[in-house]
Symmetry: C2
Subunit: 271 residues, 2 copies
DNA sequence: ATGCGTTTGTGAACGTGTGCACAAAGATGG
DNA sequence: CCATCTTTGTGCACACGTTCACAAACGCAT
């Protein structure tokens, strides 16, 4: 029973995932240097521009091969090309966006989309009142056309910006039609067959992580609850009934933060 | 010269970063169970719903304390409360959104924003033609009001959805005004003082990572260039001039994927 | 040619994260 | 009250990622 909801495949041709995730960062910094006609750059400089450690950067580049010159640094244009090639950005990637709500609109209008080889092949939505309108000069087409578009345009990347309730269904259709990489903005765990990559972007999760650290800063209580287990939280003493009673109190405080029908919300951004 | 562009602080009160990043996932799955009035859940079930390994989930929860009951599982409502509390979601987090372009609009309209304790304190923009309009029922106010709003409403979290060129400047003002956590949608490396957290959401990076893996799938060349270093890429033979000459050829192919004035683009989504 | 200063590339140590596998703990039924 | 069954909590081993520190490589000046 192999489940691969996210599919973190390890070490494709020896390049670590962590390195792959940083290559776009380097590429962006290098592109900026290239525009300023800077010919070469040292690992120290580039690392500063990309916001990483210089040793890490050198090790990252070492996985791509030895493109630097000792005593000098890296040739900017050459590196731009090598990283672009490694990331597969020298070819064209047609992309479909499914779910043209607020976020879908924003993505369709996204200028940086067309650059770096990504091309919006089609905008899709299930809502008849949205279908037919245009976003960023492109017509919004009906979901029914999904299969034919993916097939005819050889789309291998799909972006899901639907409400969470529709995400898995849309995902299944995309995969069935031949899409093998999915960028998911819906706050849902997508289950896909082996061989399909899913990455998720989740605003809510990022905010919650920030809130966690923020709480640490302000509520810098004197080593909260290290000496004798903090007062508000004690070890569950009895069987489930006791815990259930305790939670009845707790539930009141939590209910505020719980909205109804999370899966039916129209918003297209992660919840 | 301590630089902390991203600031990954390790192990706050013993809870690993990786665990913190998963807590919102568990919370979401638990909220769904709670709405279906499911009283208890086993680590196996919950792990499946959250898309993670059950052993990992149990270890994650063990950092929060021992909230489970052996032979039974976890009490859903109780866990919802405990995780909410741990993440700091039982309190109110006023948030400002700076840069009301396409994405700013999408975020303002984002329903899941108000839930989980996050409240939009203000929408800000520098463009006079945008200031005064409303988004999601809130008026867009001018950047000039940033400081007074942050101060009066005790805002500690800021969301940056400006063009990349303005991001660092906005960031500086937010930090100066008292914001200590920033969610950055602009494709820029933000430099902040110690004590300020920055998290970034970057569509372009996610797409490029997908493209990388996608390239691996289709172009499954027979172990590309392992036996004798692939032909197109050879070791730099001479001094910089030779490398520079080589890149001249390469540059042509790379130029397609390079747009001009990346920092001036109006789009508010990551490039 | 030789030496000097600079910067890369990487071995090695360390820290973090993951997953197995199992003992301990509780529920449940007789 | 004991036996059995389920599920948690965690010790341990391993994989992955990060950082240090330094030898090797290179440009350049003499």
């Amino acid at each position: 029973m192999r489940r691969t909801p996210v599919g973190r495949q390890t070490r494709a041709r020896g390049i670590p995932e962590a390195t792959v995730a940083r290559l776009p960062l380097y590429l962006r910094a290098l592109t900026a240097l290239s525009e300023r006609s800077v010919p070469t750059v040292s690992s120290e400089e580039l690392a500063a521009a990309a916001g990483v450690n210089s040793a890490k950067l050198r090790k990252d580049f070492s996985y791509l091969g030895s493109y630097g010159t000792r005593g000098v640094g890296y040739d900017v244009e050459y590196l731009v090309y090598q990283i672009s090639r490694e990331l597969g950005l020298t070819q064209d990637w047609p992309v479909v966006i499914v779910g043209i709500g607020n976020l879908g609109h924003a993505l369709a209008n996204y200028g940086g989309f067309a650059s770096r080889g990504f091309r919006v092949a089609a905008l899709l939505d299930a809502d008849p009142s949205v279908v037919g309108s245009t976003a960023a000069g492109l017509p919004v087409r009906h979901m029914d056309e999904l299969e034919s578009i993916v097939d005819s345009q050889q789309v291998s990347i799909g972006v899901i910006t639907t409400p969470p309730g529709a995400a898995q269904q849309v995902c299944d259709r995309l995969v069935e039609a031949g899409v093998t990489s999915i960028l998911n903005f819906a706050p849902t765990v997508l289950t896909v067959p082996d061989g399909v990559d899913v990455r998720k972007v989740d605003l809510s999760i990022e905010l919650q992580i920030l809130a966690f650290h923020e709480q640490r800063k302000s509520g810098e209580e004197p080593e909260e609850g290290r000496p004798a287990e903090e007062p508000a939280r004690e070890r569950a003493p009895g069987p489930v009934r006791a815990a259930a009673a305790k939670l009845r109190r707790a539930a009141g405080a939590a209910k505020d933060a719980k909205e109804l029908g999370e899966n039916d919300r129209q918003a297209v951004l992660p919840a």
